[in-house]
């Protein structure tokens, strides 16, 4: 097999191709699109969705789904918001508290799926509603205002005034996620569970425990995304994160993660998140009506999915 063919057959290939096409098209339409500021902007816009999508990739590879990530974000946003304002907590402990919250909510999802045997779609549909309700109750429906500057700089400032911290957080989280998925026992187990949970269990693997880990990591991703959003906006709305779960699933699916489980990669998910962001920024730069952005996003998801089918067919004929 030639090197070119090998690259084309990689899982991430369709995403990368779509990204290149999108960037080229917008660059031709407006050369400013390729300016460093704009490119950084694209990645920065991808951070929140990217962090959510990283976590959800683990869950999807096990063959599950997590619809509650948007609501998890909201809880983290209002609680961390209150801790840093009324609670007067410093940024670092506040972030730790937020991550802890994400772990807890991930564990609730994981528990419903493994301990009570609920289908992941139903379990997280339920918690999507419950978590949202909790976020409203925490603040009585009001937003948390005036998040301190220190927290905002901690999660969404710039290093040396150039490198956005949110991008650093995304890349570090992605690197860790990638290492867990490809270089550790847990990663192998997560793929194996998605491929064939029964055969995995019969190999002496604690399937419940490893599914639980996936949901908890997903909760951490949502918590980080929530805190970046909180820092970016400076206010904590209990309505935040609505619809974000679908964007995150879209990024993972665009990146070649199979919703049937057993297949996927962090690199792909990252590319998927950047692709969605590149598309959105490009359309905004072109002054395209916001309504059309929905159509463009949907079209590109369908395109990538179709490309994947074609690629799999080529693979079979190898």
């Amino acid at each position: 097999m030639s090197r070119m063919r090998r690259v084309l057959l990689r899982r991430e290939a369709p995403t990368l191709l779509a990204l290149v096409v999108v960037v080229l098209v917008f660059a031709v339409l407006d050369s400013m699109y390729l300016s460093p500021d704009n490119l950084i902007d694209i990645v920065e816009q991808a951070t929140i969705n990217g962090l959510l999508a990283l976590g959800i990739t683990f869950v999807i590879i096990t063959g599950g789904i997590d619809l509650s990530v948007g609501s998890t974000m909201a809880i983290v946003i209002v609680v961390v918001g209150q801790l840093t304002t009324e609670g007067g907590l410093l940024p670092f402990p506040a972030v730790l508290a937020g991550v802890g919250l994400g772990l807890v909510m991930g564990a609730v999802n994981g528990g419903l799926v493994t301990r009570f045997g609920l289908q992941p779609f139903i379990a997280t549909l339920a918690t999507m509603s419950v978590f949202r309700g909790i976020a409203y109750i925490v603040t009585g429906g009001w937003p948390v205002l005036n998040v301190p500057e220190s927290f905002r700089r901690f999660m969404d400032g710039d290093i040396f005034g150039v490198v956005p911290i949110a991008i650093v957080i995304l890349l570090v989280a992605a690197l860790l996620a990638h290492l867990v998925l490809t270089k550790t026992r847990t990663g192998v187990y997560i793929f194996a569970i998605g491929g064939n949970a029964e055969a995995t269990r019969l190999s002496g693997v604690n399937v419940s425990k490893n599914k639980m880990i996936a949901y908890m990591l997903c909760g951490v991703g949502a918590a980080l995304a929530g805190m970046v959003l909180l820092a970016r906006l400076g206010t904590g709305e209990p309505t935040a994160g609505q619809g974000h779960e679908l964007n995150a699933i879209a990024a993972a699916a665009l990146g070649g993660t199979s919703l049937a489980g057993g297949k996927g990669s962090i690199v792909g998910t990252l590319l998927g998140a950047v692709l969605l962001s590149a598309l959105r920024v490009g359309l905004v730069v072109q002054g395209v009506d916001a309504f059309w952005q929905f159509i463009a996003t949907g079209a590109i998801i369908a395109f990538a999915a179709y490309f994947e089918i074609v690629r799999d067919r080529l693979n079979v004929r190898r």
Binding site: R185, G187, V188, F191, A192, G195, A199, S203, V205
Partner: protein
Amino acid sequence: MGDALRLQSISKSFGSTLALRDVDITVQAGTLHSLIGENGAGKSTLLNIVHGLYADYDGQVELFGVPVHFKTPFDAIRAGISKVHQEIQIVPELTVGHNIALGSEGEHTAHGLLNRTALYGKTDEILERLRCTFRSSAKASGLTVGQIQMVAIAKSLYRESKIISLDEPTASLSDRETQILFGVIQTLLESGMTIIYVSHRLDEVMALSDRISILRDGVVMGTWRRGELERSVMIEKMVGRELEAVFERRPAADGEHGSVALSVKGLSSESFDDIDFDVRKGEILGFAGLVGSGRTEVVETVFGVRHRAAGEIAVNGTPVSIKSPADAMEHGIALIPEDRKRAGFVQNLDNKMNMFLPLFRKRRSYLVRDKVIRANYSRYRQLLRINPDDPDYLTAELSGGNQQKVIVAKWLGTDADILILDEPTKGIDIGAKSEMYALIRSLARGGKAIVVVSSELPELLALSHRILVMHEGRKTVELINDDLDEQTVLHYAMGGLS
């Protein structure tokens, strides 16, 4: 009678691999024509062409004298040729009648509404012809494997097929269900049906076939009439070499066995009762019984897959508590399960990873070390000769016999002293089978305690030192395999008293 199906110089390639080369086979109407050959010989490819799954091939297909070229499976069904799948698929939520008619309800539909009475009338009539005891209104989910197969045959009758192919139809059937199937086959032949039959079981091929075509490496080695072929010649043509006598009997007393490795007392669950047995080091204990007698359930309970209601399990004389496969592995037990696809290996992992999957837990390191995983693969390379011998190959893409080798390697890697093999040669060809037997024997000689569950009596008689016979969840007898014959074992398996 004329020719039902005529294949002329059919060739088919996948990329650079030639799967079929100039295949000429003529199937006469109203006869049973068997296709035999090792896994990978091209039988499935040939069937897929005949049934319209592969539209892209060279050569000509004639159906009752008319040239045809099917583009889709539906084309083939409309032309009157249908397939009873190797792994039969039904929709469990639908009734038997709806399963039979699925996709062809047209004639019982008026103005978009389905006339269920008329449909069941027709499907019931077909079930009666097949001498089935269940009726169209029954839920498909309650059927046994044998009954599901009857539904699949009924489906082809409903579509008024003139030719049907049966691919390994007896692989999952009990002896009794097999006899019923053979009866139905006779009835179908008498009514003028043409049958293409694919099976690894040479005895039934010899008993049923009017003609036999042998395939090897995509080439037809020849076609013979009933009675023209001796079993040994048949094997030689299939494999291309003479095999050491596969079913050669090993006397029970081939040396003393070691101490008791696994001892089970009074084991009970919801599907079996009060099972006792011991296996010694170096000994092979066979589990015989009809399908549904509880053999698989017993070994799965020993391995911690199923819940144990009562009874004790001891390993090397020490009582152990086994609540999960992980517990069983901790005590040196390995189970090579009956259903390879469902329980044996993980479809999205390659050979080296599937082999390493049970080994991660024993390692202190949390990291995946490629070198270690490859070294583990190489450990059994000589012994097993997996084809293709490639650690990066997806196990799911191997033939059944090679998948089984990967699964055996996976469990040998755990250094288990007690190996339980449930239907170790199910659906694998005679060459791979003989290798598997040699392997099991050499493992026993090496001191492992081995339990073999099998529906094939010749297999149990060839391998076992002792045979435990089960009937309806109970142990009927334990026999020493010393000049045992199939009739004796079968007598106890049917519930006969000792």
